[in-house]
Assembly symmetry: C2
Homo-oligomer: 339 residues x 2
């Protein structure tokens, strides 16, 4: 698989031979991206940024792939509760697990953040890191979204895939900075987004080195270590990268501080938000949504002139399966065959 990934990454250069961002409609948002990239890459220009400092950070849930009706990682965790139920007879009577096993999603969600964290911790700890990677890989290959019937890895935004590719072709390094679990994402994002594991920053649980008869392993401890959300995002960026990004893209208030941190650097900057305005092709939500609430960051974006992408008007297609672009369709099919 690794070799395929290398090829896929090398291959990307061919996909941007033609016009970049073909799935973006013409208009101020597309123009703001193209203009920014032009400024920071024009050698000798006042805004020129050396390639090593062309760091671009992207939130994942709601920015690169969908997050409705709830975060896809939670769907994974719910499936894991069912898979692990036989080993946990006590879950039959214990909330929130009882509700999960009864497919009573409303009760699960009524338990709020605590119920969700209980589910995440119970289903994400206990394995070695190698085992966990295999579990996630198996799930992501077979699971289907309840509304679209598509694999989750197909519910990625075609215009954002093109943006990632375009930036890399222009010497940027693209990072994910997500509230999602770092090891949950690393199991599939290289195939799907072309982003290698060392460029994925996310929430972590503790891990512990252990020497077994079979050799050393890293065991995942069911204890939250770091939450890469909100104020945690600039903290995570500083810890993992040690450089301030010059471009940041998010979609919710959980990305607000990451955008502020990016904006506060010297020189040309790009701050972008995906605004979910398309109830027909995707979902429409912002200030009142439980998942992916966009409120304070939207106010600051309007105030500061950050780029707010209007999904309905700015994106010619949302998902890859709508794309008329052959290269992309083929690439998506290949990625699917691999995963």
């Amino acid at each position: 698989m690794r070799q395929n990934v290398v090829e896929a990454i090398l291959m990307k250069h061919s996909t941007v031979r033609g016009t970049p961002l073909v799935s973006w409609n013409e208009g101020p948002r597309k123009a703001s991206i193209l203009h920014f990239v032009e400024r920071v890459t024009a050698e000798g220009g006042v805004d020129y940024v050396p390639a090593l400092d062309r760091i671009a950070v992207f939130d994942n849930d709601g920015t690169l792939w969908s997050e409705k009706p709830f975060y896809f990682q939670l769907a994974f965790a719910l499936d894991r509760v069912k898979a692990l139920a036989a080993q946990h007879p006590e879950w039959q009577e214990q909330q929130p697990f009882k509700a999960v096993l009864e497919d009573d999603l409303e009760s699960v969600l009524s338990g709020g953040l605590k119920a969700i964290i209980d589910i995440l911790v119970a289903t994400h700890g206990g394995n070695t890191t190698d085992e966990f990677e295999q579990i996630v890989s198996g799930w992501i290959a077979s699971a289907r979204h309840s509304a679209t019937g598509r694999p989750y890895t197909k519910m990625v935004y075609q215009p954002m895939l093109e943006l990632l590719d375009f930036l890399r072709a222009k010497g940027f390094r693209t990072y994910i900075v997500s509230g999602g679990g770092i090891e949950f994402m690393r199991a599939w994002v290289e195939d799907v987004y072309g982003i290698p594991p060392e460029q994925v920053i996310g929430s972590t649980i503790e891990t512990k080195y252990e020497m077994r008869d079979s050799g050393p392993v890293l065991v995942r401890i069911p204890k939250v270590e770091f939450v890469d959300d909100g104020e945690g995002k600039p903290v995570g960026i500083h810890k993992f990268i040690g450089r301030r990004p010059i471009l940041a893209f998010g979609n919710s208030d959980g990305d607000h501080q990451m955008l502020q941190w990016t904006a506060a650097g010297e020189g040309a900057r790009f701050m972008g938000l995906v605004h979910h305005t398309d109830a027909e092709r995707e979902w429409a939500y912002d200030r009142r949504s439980q998942v992916g609430r966009l409120d304070k960051a939207l106010d600051e974006a309007h105030e500061k002139g950050w780029t707010v992408v209007d999904m309905k008007h700015d994106w010619r297609v949302v998902f890859p399966w709508e794309s008329k672009n052959k290269v992309w369709r083929q690439k998506a099919q290949r990625a699917q065959t691999r995963s």
Copy 2:
């Protein structure tokens, strides 16, 4: 400065035009390095490793630069105690600070690890990350080693600089994985080793995002978050890189688990130890040393056939100032002018 760094990194390719590893004497250790690199880079060979997976990790203290009479970061912390003493009148009567201010190093060290951690925490927290970087940069440019009178950034091992360069020329990415503070190292390792901040893994203290009138900052909290030593090294590698290295170099028992973790991967592997055997040009120490103890890892290295570099016999020169190689001497001088 950043631009100089880019040039320096690009420039490195010229330094390996000729014979690689010129400061290494011929013999089994040099041969084991050259042979390993040949195996994993020979396209079509059974041991071929794609470039993306050519991850090489290096300990810092005692592996890339010296660590005697004690870790150089501790010298920084002792100097900081003196610089901060006016703001801390209580330190005049409070150990271990009192001993530091009286230059009574013996008393400081008799306080053991606890005294050292007290000093590190008190001197490494409280600033913003930007302020701390400036403090370290200022210190590293002016401080001198008590025994050699040289800047600490000159007390790096010429043969290891050549190894880093050689590996990069062969498509490896070189990482530091050190018990030292991640932000202490990032302030200077890019200039000195050509290793960018995102490839530096180290111990961390907590940081906190804070919005001030002047804009957002990250504040360093005087509280240890992660100790990247011993069992922490494979944990740190997995968290930051998410790939298993194929080459690891250390010098002490603090690197033992990193070497075990590297060795346990599939395919060709290289595990190396710098054995400090040269009391004349550097220091000679191993099993009984307080700083950089090498005992259990040395036993396993002998048992498993890992490469144990005998500093006295394998290195033609130890420090760059001894080097007869003009390119390196000039490069070292330029780095000095910049820093």
